[in-house]
Subunit: 272 residues, 2 copies
């Protein structure tokens, strides 16, 4: 029978989705049907959510699993009454935390992804604008403000990583493409030369690069096996020659690439 | 005494930071010092992490709190031996899940933010490229592919929301700015007219708008009280007149705006 996963929250549902998916990597539930019910912040909405769950349960709740983060015990109780298997992050951890911190919890709902303060928010928006301004070799005159400058050949993952660094961590991240000309002459592009210490290289395996490029421009020289092989090898040589730290992004998600960079550089993770 | 929070993970640390910060919204720990130790995936690194924690504990571990997501019990034990208060998401929930699912867990580490499959990954990158291509009124000829088109006056939150929708949920989201001319004539910009059903409006309170614009262009007409007031009012009128659903973004984080839109439109949250 098909397994059904509910993610229920009194706010966006992002926290409980993240936690639930992390736990489920340990079980054979990755292909289950997922239903997120966010903003369950009133008794009425809780009853509606419970009805939906009951509908999926029919006579048997064994295949229905609920992950929830519900601060209000009354709302939680309505969901629990469905008899589906339910794990709630607040219910589980708040008593432990109250005991450890010797403090009662506040009962505020929906604060996890709320705006914390206007200055932090402004610095996040600034980081996003910076990433757009300096994407793909743009705005090089602003490089003195950059905290990091990613560089690499076309389709090595520079743009998504910069955007993620900006959105998630508020990092001022620029990126600059390495062209064939730079590769042939083994020279760093001129705009990068004064910023050696800010540079971080991205590389990628040639077969994966070929796959990605072929999706964009099938049967082109750009996506040919030979071209991808030469560019990958020369880019790595260029990084080595100029003592630029680099990461092979082939098997990594955007989250992993970004956190590797942050970690490697000892950069501060801002919190939004 | 200053409170110290550790976030320890065998992978990126993103899951445990999200969970820990969510729980801490319920206590007076929001201003504590935060230290994330990612990639603690060997016994050796665990001992180093434990030393760092001990250094912060000095003689008293009461002010040190550890949130961790460590799959390996041996690594977890080394951290637990520090005697600081420790909450581990796997340790807490895996036994409950094993019992509920009648299944032993896999002991795989670092899967939460790993690449799940190449197709999902490609659709995420496609969404990011789409957001960049159609940012700020660009690429309107691709609107037939858009799942949503955000519209609103300058600095109402369109660009960050589109980028977040793409990165987090893989949504093809475009955005189009409303200019003074559109406002004066109460007409929808021409490129938007064929896509009424895809439109979603963003509004913002005039005082907050003024603040944001003043940071960009102080003492300009663009940032003047009068101008902000008129634009806010006229944009809202325009949305009402054309039956465009809209959201006032003033008090919302990017995460909240994006999930509101997804929820309101009944769109699928893709998982990366």
């Amino acid at each position: 029978m098909k397994k059904i996963l509910f993610f229920i929250s009194d706010s966006t549902g992002l926290t409980i989705e993240t936690l639930g998916n992390s736990l489920l990597t340990q079980f054979n539930y990755m292909d289950a049907e997922r239903i997120t019910l966010p903003y369950i912040n009133t008794v009425e909405k809780a009853h509606q959510a419970a009805q939906t769950i009951q509908w999926y349960c029919k006579n048997d709740c064994k295949n229905v699993l609920i992950f929830s983060s519900l601060v209000d015990p009354e709302i939680r109780k309505i969901i629990r009454n469905t008899k589906a298997i339910m794990l709630d992050s607040f219910e589980t951890f708040l008593p432990q935390l109250e005991q450890a911190l010797q403090e009662k919890h506040k009962k505020n709902i929906g604060l996890s992804h709320a705006v914390k303060d206007e200055n932090t928010y402004a610095s996040r928006i600034e980081a996003i604008n910076f990433a757009l301004l300096t994407d793909d070799g743009g705005g090089t005159k602003h490089y003195d403000q950059a905290e990091i400058i990613l560089t690499g050949i076309s389709r090595s993952g520079k743009t998504p990583t910069c955007l993620y660094l900006a959105l998630q961590f508020g990092v001022l991240a620029a990126n600059y493409p390495i062209t064939e000309e730079d590769l042939h002459t083994y020279t760093l592009p001129k705009p990068l030369q004064p910023y050696q210490s800010k540079l971080f290289g991205l590389t990628i395996q040639e077969d994966r690069l070929q796959e990605i490029r072929a999706q964009r421009r099938p049967d082109s020289r750009y996506a040919s096996s030979k071209q991808c092989q030469v560019e990958c090898q020369q880019a790595e040589d260029l990084f080595k020659q100029h003592y630029i730290t680099y990461l092979n992004t082939t098997r990594f998600s955007i989250e992993e690439i970004a956190t590797h960079i942050i970690h490697q550089r000892g950069m501060k993770r801002k919190r939004f």
